[in-house]
Amino acid sequence: MAVLDLETRIEHKKLHSAFYLFLFSMSVPYFLMINLRYVMIGGFVPPLLDQTTGAVETVLAIASALTALLAYRRSKAENAAGYRLATRFTLSLGLVATVMQLYELWVHPLNPMSHYGETFLATIGLCVVMQLMGLLALWAASSRVGRMGMTDSLRHGYELVSIFWIFNVIAWVVMYIELYFL
């Protein structure tokens, strides 16, 4: 691992800090949906929300977050092959979890007369959209590291992709607990 000079390390920390601003901004819709749900339906948990399916999705998502964390560490160590492998695992696990969420949306009878506002559908949809963006980023990072390798100037982009995926998983876990149980 190359030893970075102080100035470069500071620049990298700044880049990461700026990215956390983006994540903060992206957390706002989740807060909105949590509040909207309580405004519209209180603590009602729709019977069509299957906790078991949700649990499988959540386990897959958590596993993908762990592999994303591993990818993040591989990136820090400038290990291109390790990063690529871990990211591919993240991509696969995340893809299955997202497809399962999409399945939940697809099979749900979209009921315009539901008194419960169907806010959970929009919330799951929000998670799906964010995860699709995350999957695209993971795919791009995996391809990029294969073509361009791991250099000091490139690795921060890879790290941010992993962080974004971990953010998505944390958001999903919170939403799972909130929507399916509380």
Partner: protein
């Protein structure tokens, strides 16, 4: 034509086969047709009858937007490099660079300004049509009332989301902030390079909304009101979504630029006031724009799926609450940069240190914070009396930090060698106008008065005094002030003064009469009205046309001055902020070496003798 690339070896020059804007439009059209056909012929059970359905037009628009962004340059500069393909970055030369993807923050700033100006005049034209209709008390210009109300909606939407939110942040912010903090680029130039192209897409979408049918909700897009209309509201949601995402991307970029790209010696104590203004407004954007974007998505789902969020089955008032949760901070998103520009221009024109600078900063920050506590005063007609009190209180309280800005500016002018120039005159006009808007806002914060004046022209006058009076006049002031920076040329002082007085007379004539008209019973959102109101409506319309022509006059004057104005020395105002230490117009790289800041930008104790606070070996 210069060429740079990712990688080591230079690549041979390669011309684009097509102008980026043309290619973007073409790709957008193809993407729309393909996705629309896919949805309406393959997925929709009606198999293409009708050809355009609600889901098909929404998904087609999303595809078109992606096609537009990729076609304009996102393909070679963002998408392919993200996947590791090494694509040469071709810097388009000359004037064509303003119609292409560019990571140069000055080019992006001008692209934003041009888009905003275009939006301003399109929305202004809509306003002229409205005033023409109101010349007579009966329907005569528009065939039916819905068209009039739709015109009001298009006017308000484009003004708020492509002008108010954009011009001083995306436009001047992108151009000036990196230079003001002593950097050659913004923190994330690619983000702004792409986000700027969302603005014309958003404006065009809103303009095209009548193709899908009328929408009568105004710029707020109220649900469930929108559900009563045909489908024009779809393009309202989508267009505004594009515009607000653009503003969000810019805010992230500018916040990161101010936080992390400051040059050495530029401590928080020395940060220029405009940078403080952009920082506070960007934080507002970062919080509230995702909130309203999510609300618009829910509004879209309400109609397209449909899901019953805001119908009688769901919770009809919730949309209003979610909208105004963003809607009032939006007002401060618009005027906070204007406040900051007042505090930027006036010490330069007074040649006196900025009075109580810290209080000016505290004012900006508290306006930012309190702006989230006042939103429900827009909904007094829907609330219990007990719920009104805190919102009424905070609405009145926000005038205190706003007043700090006045204190700073007046204290700066006080006993100074104040010079009346076109920028300083426009700032004074802006302050006067905003004072009227602010004071009438205190009246409207009182529930008793609010319930009487709700949805009358009094309210229309109030918010125009704050937004046009506060922001647009300041935008003009800023354009005249930084014109020598943009072009190395100066405006014609006589024409500038004429232009300023022209718009002031037009504006104050039209909108001050609207206060009276509102008190006399003239309601908003209605193209017909009682006969006794006609006389004053005619006078208002005449002033409005004068105002419209005045803005056109100023535009032509500024364009003329940019090209043919008198050449002036590098820093004609003897201002001290860092952007003035660069060449005028700035070179491709604003600073040959990173500047070092050693003192305040507002220190005129030397009588303005030294033009810059940046000594050392740097080309300041």
């Amino acid at each position: 034509m210069s060429v740079a690339r990712i990688g080591d070896a230079p690549l041979p020059l390669r011309r684009r086969p097509m102008a980026p804007v043309i290619r973007g439009l073409l790709w957008a059209a193809i993407a729309f047709v393909v996705v629309n056909c896919l949805v309406s012929y393959v997925i929709d059970p009606q198999y293409g009858t009708p050809f355009i359905t609600q889901p098909s037009v929404v998904l087609g628009w999303v595809a078109a937007l992606i096609g537009w962004l990729l076609g304009i340059g996102g393909m070679e500069n963002i998408l392919l490099p993200s996947f590791g393909y090494q694509v040469p970055y071709v810097e388009v030369p000359g004037w064509r660079r303003y119609f292409a993807y560019s990571t140069n923050h000055k080019v992006i700033g001008i692209q934003y300004l041009v888009s905003s100006t275009g939006g301003f005049f399109i929305a202004g034209l809509a306003a002229m049509l409205m005033r023409l209709q109101l010349w007579e008390p009966h329907m005569w210009l528009f065939p039916y009332p819905g068209q009039y109300i739709e015109t009001v909606g298009i006017h308000g939407t484009i003004m708020m989301f492509s002008v108010g939110t954009v011009a001083l942040v995306g436009g001047l912010g992108n151009y000036l902030i990196p230079m003001m903090v002593g950097s050659n680029s913004s923190a994330f130039p690619r983000i702004s390079a792409l986000s700027v192209w969302l603005v014309p897409a958003g404006i065009l979408t809103v303009i095209l909304s009548p193709l899908l049918g009328q929408w009568t909700t105004g710029w707020r897009g109220y649900e469930p009101l929108g559900l009563n209309d045909p489908n024009g509201i779809l393009f309202y949601y989508l267009g505004v979504f594009a515009l607000t995402v653009s503003s969000l991307m810019v805010s992230l970029n500018l916040t990161a630029t101010i936080l992390f790209k400051r040059t050495k010696g530029l401590t928080w104590n020395r940060l220029p006031m405009y940078a403080w203004g952009i920082l506070t407004v960007s934080l507002l954007n970062i919080i509230w724009l995702p909130e309203i974007d999510m609300t618009f998505v829910l509004g879209l789902l309400d109609r397209v799926v449909p899901l019953p969020f805001f119908t009688a089955v769901g919770s009809p008032l919730t949309y209003l609450e979610m909208f105004w949760l963003f809607g009032h901070p939006e007002v401060y998103i618009i005027v906070v940069p204007a406040f900051a520009i007042w505090m930027e221009i006036m010490p330069v024109m007074s040649k006196k240190p900025l009075f109580a600078r810290e209080w000016g900063i505290i004012g900006l920050i508290f306006v930012m914070m309190l702006s989230g506590f006042v939103w429900a005063h827009h909904m007094f007609t829907n609330m219990r009396l007990t719920e009104m009190l805190p919102f009424s209180f905070f609405t009145e309280m926000i005038s205190i930090p706003t007043g700090f800005t006045y204190m700073v500016v007046i204290g700066t002018i006080w006993r100074s060698r104040f010079k009346v120039t076109v920028p300083s005159l426009l700032v004074l006009m802006s302050m006067f106008n905003f004072l009227i808007g602010g004071m009438t806002g205190v009246f409207l914060a009182d529930p008793v008065i609010n319930l009487q004046l709700h949805d009358t022209f009094f309210v229309v006058a109030h918010f125009h005094f704050t937004i046009i009076g506060g922001m647009v006049f300041t935008w003009l002031a800023a354009m005249y002030y930084w014109l020598p920076k943009f072009s190395g040329r100066l405006y014609n002082p006589k024409l500038g003064i004429i232009g300023a007085i022209w718009v002031f007379i037009g504006f104050d004539g039209a909108f001050s009469l609207m206060f009276i008209q509102g008190l006399r019973g003239m309601n908003r959102w209605v193209p017909v009205y009682p006969q006794y109101l006609q006389g004053m409506n005619i006078v208002i319309s005449i002033f409005a046309f004068i105002l419209g022509l005045g803005f056109l006059f100023n535009l032509l004057h500024i364009v003329w001055a940019l090209k043919s104005g008198k050449k002036v020395r590098e820093n004609p105002w003897e201002a001290k902020t860092l952007e003035w230490s660069t060449a005028s117009p700035p070179a491709e790289e604003s600073f040959a070496a990173a500047p070092l800041v050693t003192g305040s930008f507002y220190d005129y104790d030397d009588g303005g003798a030294t033009s810059l606070p940046v000594p050392g070996p740097l080309p300041m």
